[in-house]
Every structure is written in structure tokens, then in C-alpha cells.
Subunit: 308 residues, 2 copies
């Protein structure tokens, strides 16, 4: 690829990660910086729908970032980024997750805020730079925001997200509740997916001390489409644990309408997960009332439990 | 100490670190957050002068932060922070250095910008929060800014620093060049300091891969006050290398008027420093024309050389 700076989101890209990469590259271009958006994996059906809806070309796939200059959006952990990133120069980070293991030699712009989406932070960065958000870019940012916050219903949602959503919807010329419903329907299109694809569709890896842990999440309005295939999904999870040597693999099947999750678990460290989440697994399954956010409600207690 | 959040800067505190802790705690208080400033070590003469000048009480010394809630200002590396910080909850970071090794379980507010001082970023945070900067707080922020940028002469200085300095000087009711000169004179008061105190007065530790490296800096308008005691200073450096098992200890004696540094070196890895800085040491001494910033001109090439 070119010598331009690559603005890139996490692996297993979701709508917030892809739309944030595009929107931030556009802001950089408006500021005369040679930046292009990129992606670290295949697009999911929701993101494809969004790019079609706003008539935007998909960012190019970046397979190896060695020796590149990178701006990371929507993540700041090496285990979640594009291959070769440890040998790249990371020149900026814009994110809304926990602080991970990215280190730099020189001072850089690093903005992390505990809000519902990276798109929300980018809306603020456009304002800081006094650059107008055109209607297409507003549509992309709104999509990232509504996807990550489950149309402002996730417990990660803040006042800043609500304010940004209203304003972006206005610029994009859509009504955000109605548009959000369209997005949720895309998110739920599990349809003919194989169990393995379901598990790995929205998947993140973490290093909790010496332990390698994988946490997948399926956000859906039809949890039964997954749970009726419970045994096949658990078989797929067991196979992934063996291949990747996870201490544990947790899959959250999140019911977007009921605002609750069913967790499936595989690997040897089920007890640590039970201690962390304060639940008991019955046949590798547990019910997590009120749990919608992997980042805020699952990762911190699990990390704590694994480090004890 | 109390259950309040502690806003704290790095060890071997300097004026930017102390003034930033005070100013950010004040902003938090204005936003109804129970925060108090703290410091991780003894005040240097320049900072004492500043607190006297603006009639502000020194922050309390925090000796152990275990189980505290911390806001880190002006640093984001465990090796530079208050003891116990690994067992504390880090809830925010505001800094202008390289990205270090601080990790968190949950998403936090983390703002790092490549500008000349943490005080510059805080000036922006007051604006973001729409909180007015009173004249005393402006005096503190101006002091941090002018101290860290050597009155806007350091190569780390940006346009944002210049704009903030003018505005803070206006609010504080001083002329910044004249006030900056007063500060520089304080910085240079090496006077009766013992060689060991000179080396450790403004001192930072780094982990470059497996190597433990210490880098001290003496910013002065009278470099000869240090260099005429060269042998005693080198003896003190050798002793510190032995005690702390450094691979290398580098001391920058920075001439603020000529905008250049003389480097003294101790430890076994002189060759790595020579490779990194592209210089040759003659009897443990090398001349570094144009070098004023440890952070920007010394740490990145040294880290690169140690990791090769």
C-alpha cells in the first residue's frame, strides 16, 4: 500500500471501528495530512449494510502493517490490532476501551474517553478542529455510535453519546430511532451462519496476566437462533480453545431487547469465570441479567479474577 | 489520607508536575468531584519559589497509593509514579510524554498530547469544561508551561503552548518573558548541592526491553557549576549505577542559553548510548549540540538502540 498513514480499527471489525477509521481519515485529509482508512479483517453484514446505505467504499484490507505509520481507532491493544503493528510506528490513538499495552517511544496524541462509541469522540474532534461534518460522514458516525450503544440502550451510553446522536442524525437527515432499528435487524442476521462463525464474528482476545482469554459476543434480537444450536456452538468453542490454547473462551449471547445475556463457556478455567462474574455455570451455560457490555461489565471483573 | 481522589504527578516532581496536580484538582473540585492534589517526592527550589510567588500551599506528600484512586498528571509509567500505584485504581491520565505501561481494567479518560507541558493540556480542559481559570491558577499553569518549555525555547514547544502562555500570562497579570527569566534563575540555583543531589534532582527511570536505564537532566544557565565538579559527579553516578543495577546512567547537563547539552555517562552499556545518540564519549563525556529535550531528543533514540 502507499506511504500514507493508515487509520485502522480492530480485528473482527464492527461498524464503529470501520466508520471511525473512515471518518477520522477524512478529518486528517481535511487537515492536509496524507491518511487513508484501512481495515484489519472482513466486514460483517451490518457494516456492509451501512456502507451501502451511505454509498461509501469499503476501506482496503491491511494484512501486514510492518514499517507503516498507524493511527489506531477503537482499540489500543496489540492482541486486537493488525499483524505487524509492533513493528509499525503508532502515531495516534482514539479509543473508548480500557487502556491496553500499546507503548510508544515519542509523545503522541492519545485520546481515550469512557463514552459509548469511538464515533462520539470523533464528533468532538471534528469540532475541536473546526471542520464541518458532511451528511455522509455524519451518517457513518451515527451508524458507529448507534451500533456500539445498541441505539443508546447499552449501559456504556453517556450524555455525550445522546447529544452526538441527535446532532449527527440531524446532519445525516435520518430519525435515529428508526434508523437504529434497521441497524439492529442487520446485526441479528445470524441466518445461515455456521457455529464457528457465530463464535468468532465479534471476538476479542485478552492477556490477563499469563492467561490467554477469548471473549465473543453475539448481539441479537433472536437469541434462540443461537441457543437452539447450543451443542454445536459448544463443540466449536472447544475446538477453538484447543487450537488457540485459551485458558477460557466465553461467548456472550446478548438479547438486545430484553437487555440480558446468556453466557457459554469452554476451557479449563470455568471456576475463575464464575468467581469473576459471580455466577454458577450449569452445563457450560449461565444467565447474566442486565449484562450487555463486554467491555464494561465482563472484561474488568474477569481480569480481576484472573489476576488474583 | 482521605478517600478523595489523589491527583498526582511523577517522582522527583518538577514545576509542571506539581502545578498541574494542583490545577487539575481544582478543576475537578469545580466539577463537584472530591479530588485533592498530592506529590510523589520533595519539592525542588524552583517549585518552592512558584508556590511562594502565587501564595499556594504545597500538595501533601503521598508515600503509598495502595488502594487509592489516582489521577496521574504529567506521567504514565509505573516506574515514574508513586509507590503502590500498581495496587491503586487509575481513573484518569493527562500527560504529554510517550505512552508508557499503565493499563486499566475499565475504560478511562486518558488524554496525552505532544505539546510542551501538561499545563497546556489542562488549559484546554478548563475550556472544554467551561470553567474560568482564576488568576492564581493561571499563575500556576503558566509556571508549569514556562518551566517545561524553558520559556518557549525547548524544541518540544508548539503553537498551542505559545497561545496558552500568552493567555495565562494575561490572566495571571504578568509579562511572561520577564517572569520566565525569574523561573530560569531559580532552576539554575545549583549552589551548594552535593553531586548526588545534582544527578538525582530531575531524574527518570526507564525499562528499555530488559534494560534498566536512568536519565538525569540538569537544566541550567551555568553548566560550568556542574562540569567543574566532573569527577565527583561521575563518582556519584558510578555509585548509583551499582546500587540500582542500571545498564546505563546518562546525565544531561543542559545549557538553557546556548540550547545544547553535555552528556555524562556511567554503566556498562556506553556503546549502546553512542549508537543511539550517534556520538562518541571521550572519558565518559560527550557534547550534544541542539539537544534540550530528554523526552523528545534522547529517550526515543536510546529506546531504539537498546531494543536492537
Amino acid at each position: 500500500m502507499s506511504n500514507a498513514i493508515h487509520v485502522i480499527g480492530h480485528q473482527q471489525p464492527d461498524t464503529d471501528t470501520v466508520c471511525s477509521a473512515i471518518a477520522y481519515a477524512r478529518l486528517k485529509q481535511a487537515q492536509e495530512t496524507d491518511a487513508v482508512p484501512a481495515r484489519a479483517g472482513a466486514l460483517n453484514p451490518e457494516t456492509k449494510f451501512v456502507l451501502d446505505r451511505w454509498d461509501v467504499e469499503a476501506p482496503a484490507l491491511l494484512e501486514d502493517a510492518t514499517d507503516d505509520r498507524l493511527i489506531l481507532v477503537d482499540h489500543n491493544e496489540y492482541s486486537q490490532t493488525v499483524p505487524g503493528a509492533r513493528e509499525a510506528e503508532i502515531i495516534e490513538v482514539v479509543d473508548h476501551h480500557r487502556i491496553g499495552d500499546v507503548e510508544t517511544s515519542a509523545p503522541i496524541f492519545f485520546r481515550n474517553e469512557p463514552v459509548g462509541s469511538t464515533a462520539t469522540i470523533l464528533t468532538g474532534l471534528y469540532d475541536d478542529a473546526d471542520v464541518e461534518i458532511d451528511s455522509q460522514t455524519a451518517g457513518l458516525l451515527l451508524s458507529g455510535l448507534l451500533s456500539d450503544t445498541v441505539v443508546l440502550r447499552s449501559p456504556t451510553t453517556t450524555e455525550a453519546d445522546r447529544t452526538a446522536a441527535e446532532r449527527l442524525a440531524d446532519s445525516a437527515g435520518v430519525e435515529y430511532e428508526a434508523y437504529g432499528k434497521e441497524l439492529l435487524q442487520q446485526k441479528s442476521k445470524l441466518g445461515e451462519k455456521a457455529p464457528r462463525e457465530m463464535v468468532l464474528g465479534d471476538f476479542k482476545e485478552f492477556e490477563f496476566g499469563p492467561h490467554h482469554v477469548g471473549i465473543g459476543q453475539i448481539e441479537t434480537v433472536e437469541p434462540d437462533a443461537v441457543l437452539t444450536q447450543r451443542e454445536a456452538v459448544l463443540d466449536a468453542m472447544d475446538a477453538i480453545v484447543d487450537e488457540r490454547e485459551y485458558a477460557v473462551l466465553l461467548l456472550l449471547v446478548t438479547d438486545l431487547l430484553e437487555e440480558e445475556s446468556t453466557a457459554l463457556v469452554a476451557g479449563d478455567r470455568t471456576e475463575t469465570v464464575e468467581a469473576g462474574l459471580d455466577v454458577t455455570f450449569d452445563g457450560q451455560e449461565a444467565f447474566l441479567p442486565g449484562v450487555m457490555s463486554r467491555k464494561k461489565q465482563v472484561v474488568p471483573p474477569l481480569e480481576g479474577a484472573f489476576e488474583e
